[in-house]
Assembly symmetry: C3
Homo-oligomer: 426 residues x 3
Amino acid sequence: MTIGREIHNLASELWPICRSITGNGVRQTLKIIKQHLPQLQTFEVPTGTQCFDWTVPKEWNIKDAYVIDPNGKKIIDFKVSNLHVVGYSIPIDQKLPLSELKKHLYTLPDQPNAIPYITSYYSPHWGFCLTHSQFEQLIDGEYHVVIDSELKEGHLTYAELLIPGKSEKEVFLSTYVCHPSLANNELSGPTVTTFLAKWLLSQENLNYSYRIIFIPETIGSLTYLSQHADTMKQRVFAGYNVTCVGDERDYSYIPSRAENTLSDMIARHVLGHIAPNYKTYPFFESGSDERRYCAPGIDLPIASIMRTKYNRYPEYHTSLDDLTLVTPKGLEGGYEAIRKCLEIIEHNEVLKLTVMCEPQLGKRGLYPNLSTKQSNQIVSNMMNFISYCDGSLSTLEIAQKIQVPIWDLYDIIANLKQEGLLIKAN
Amino acid sequence: MTIGREIHNLASELWPICRSITGNGVRQTLKIIKQHLPQLQTFEVPTGTQCFDWTVPKEWNIKDAYVIDPNGKKIIDFKVSNLHVVGYSIPIDQKLPLSELKKHLYTLPDQPNAIPYITSYYSPHWGFCLTHSQFEQLIDGEYHVVIDSELKEGHLTYAELLIPGKSEKEVFLSTYVCHPSLANNELSGPTVTTFLAKWLLSQENLNYSYRIIFIPETIGSLTYLSQHADTMKQRVFAGYNVTCVGDERDYSYIPSRAENTLSDMIARHVLGHIAPNYKTYPFFESGSDERRYCAPGIDLPIASIMRTKYNRYPEYHTSLDDLTLVTPKGLEGGYEAIRKCLEIIEHNEVLKLTVMCEPQLGKRGLYPNLSTKQSNQIVSNMMNFISYCDGSLSTLEIAQKIQVPIWDLYDIIANLKQEGLLIKAN
Amino acid sequence: MTIGREIHNLASELWPICRSITGNGVRQTLKIIKQHLPQLQTFEVPTGTQCFDWTVPKEWNIKDAYVIDPNGKKIIDFKVSNLHVVGYSIPIDQKLPLSELKKHLYTLPDQPNAIPYITSYYSPHWGFCLTHSQFEQLIDGEYHVVIDSELKEGHLTYAELLIPGKSEKEVFLSTYVCHPSLANNELSGPTVTTFLAKWLLSQENLNYSYRIIFIPETIGSLTYLSQHADTMKQRVFAGYNVTCVGDERDYSYIPSRAENTLSDMIARHVLGHIAPNYKTYPFFESGSDERRYCAPGIDLPIASIMRTKYNRYPEYHTSLDDLTLVTPKGLEGGYEAIRKCLEIIEHNEVLKLTVMCEPQLGKRGLYPNLSTKQSNQIVSNMMNFISYCDGSLSTLEIAQKIQVPIWDLYDIIANLKQEGLLIKAN
């Protein structure tokens, strides 16, 4: 089974759960992920906890919700799609005429077959979402609306995994678990992140430590930052927000606010080689948690690598963002792009030559004895790599200079180290 | 009446006056401008005054000039167009054959219906300018030439207006009043500048002071600088040379010599938004007073914003540069571009957020309660603006980063200040 | 006779000699060059001398070499083309069947009429090179192969010329003399360099000193650097590796490793004006001695200006790289490009204006008395040059700013100095 298929399977398992920024949907989701990552730790933060300028809201849970039409037919049913209910809807059980009901109905006239995804976290409200086609067929008369939800003092739930490496310096990955049945803009994130964590756990002797969190978006990152920003500012030197990594269309990149951190250089290097036509968005088009990680006073070096960016595909935040849009191939592409970034972080170092000028590679069997006009890409990469090894540039920077993917240099560098021609510069 | 029409009316009033680098034409011009700007002060600098490497020349005045042809017909007449006489012509009253006269006639063979504009300030000379069409019809015989001019010890005249603001730091505007009846490359400058000064005088509580001068070009700026450069170098932090701001064709920009001063950043920001196809010329194509203001040893941050640049339109320095080429609409465009620059100078500041990370705008009524996929440009600008408010960038720099005109942020910033979310960074 | 023709004549004289990285071919070549440059000094470095990571190899000389086919016909003959023998072939005199012989034959199937150029300096080997057309006609049977060569303890030979100037600071030119009968990728280098040296020797009062070496490629530069790098690092502030400067196709440039040294700025300035479509290759495409001069720990500011770059033309390292490909016109272009660079090095300086603001050029006869709309390129260059003379930019940098070739400024600068308007800034 390909890794893309494995990731897609996990996404399918998580699909039906009704997640929100708090509540049991998040807990169920994290429990399933924990089956893959037993070391994952779950944390509960009480309602009312102050997080910078924000406050942890009440916990929301929902059992059922539906609308019965004048003919007694259940025409909108939470059990068919959890998108049908406006997120954080207050409980209700009421009969009302169509004209009144309409004030609580949400559709997308331009996408008549899509159910929109709507929430109202910070203002008490109730509502239903439905396709515009269905909306247009509603008949006059009295409707019965039921939302069996609960808003109470409770907790905001998130999970964290710390994978220790030789250095206390940390790489940070963040993904969110707060949308109901949405695929690219939800499940691709935590599922790809789960498999990235599994890959990291499978590596021996990691050079760096990895801090990975599964949180509700916005309030979750604010909560986490309000409790961990000080440590993170000392330790985190690179990282990514993982979202929208599951479809097959684009590769996309949003820089960190600082624009030229290590995370950025690595992201551009990887995407430049695996998907030269990838799209770059300006930082101000960020809207997910990377915006909080890079916010004034936080200033972490967090960039985003995506397939098709949130807000930039028609299915975004509708029922059409499902597991046909997100595919094993799409997920594998997203996974592989970020995995390569992590691999570069592990490999990147500053080396210098142990001999003056140019080593004689021929006497070490690394250069052809016969000089002809044909060139050999590996020898050429080796020679080019060496000529920048003056202790001022990292291997990533040299790969960039000589215009080859850094992964083509891993074996070359290993050989040169074995021959004693390269040592760490500092 | 539009402001463009008001400016054009003033230009029409100034049109007939025969200005030169000295003399009564300048005085008459300044007197009319003073009707709009009573605070304007006029200064007289005597002939012979040393100005760096230059000397204030004799004062030139002219009453009449004409050429009578062999048939006794007055064929060239200063009273018809003051361009007919070479500027600074010495007095003459002489009869001479066509062959001799021709040595003193100037035409433009490539523009046969245009009278060229010619001067000889620093070498005694006399001459007439006429259309090439007319020149070709001259008949053989004896001509009578009269120039009733006077060159004498006198003064160079200029005017200055200082509009005080809260800070002693100054913004500098310079424009010239030394060409006879020419419209874009003369009258557009002082008339637009007059109305910019009126706008400044109408503002309450200006943050900065404004130094505005009306001078003869070249020798005037040299004279002014030789007496004020020391003060200006301490106080002037931005400014523009105002010329060629009256036609409807291009918008143009010449950077200061330093290329990236505040004046430059503002000019590019304004033109980039109001006229994205504006032309940028290199500094070395400057030829007006901005060249003196940026000269070695002076080094003021003065850039130029123009409509069609001097030397870059066929009517330049000919009788075709008239008040049909310069229009109310053209003048209003030039006025508005520079006015927006001054407005930015007043608004630009460095702000920082008073809360960590990201403020909760929703609880302050600044963010929609319902989260949908539709975006709201004002909210989006607000969020984007905030995410750069770390105290390191000015509001202009942030506007540039988030790719919106800074004037779209003025209300947003006022609101955020009112909510106590932003304070001055220093 | 044009200088291109003179250079081509010298190349023709050097053409038949069988050069290699050591041996009498190098000595004969240097002897002929010495007829043009009597001050040239020759040095001999013994076999076995350690040069950083390398060792001077045995000296190789060859008298004759041929292959006799089964019919007794001499089908491959060193005396017809010295490319027929693999460079550094060990001596052999042997009869062997075609199948065995083939293991020692080298051809270029894609260029069936070209004899390839092959060497095996550091691994004992013998072989013959021939056209693929000829190879395909070889008949079965016994062949007699003879290589009358000698490998012995001897010397590596190189020559050096130091032309002293007012300053001890040095400009460095390096070219190689180690390929047999090859034209662009060999003879164009030493012949153009010889005439550059002659031009330098003809100049009076050079500002800088010039160190010029004729060496075998790679091992020669390593040898030279291992003995002179310390002095060179103190003195050399600019220089070029001279190779492939003889054909008429491209102009090409490879930056130094540091990319923005004086050598680089000058090379780009010259090529930008004389050949605006010149090709720029990245440093990592360098493969000649400039790679050693710029290597880690050496770090000299050496760039390359070429006509068509080695490895980038089909005739490269084949018998087709001959004196029809390299022409008088091609050589003159290569010579002139580098000569202009040396001339710029001599002229480049930092000047400042002796008067404040803008000098009055008119009173010195440097500016037209009559002001018309026509512009004068020389006056315009002068004005533009002056407006950057604030003592912060070199004349080269100003020429670059005002977009004119620096050689158009030489007379202007001389005039302004004579008028006392410019002095050295430091």
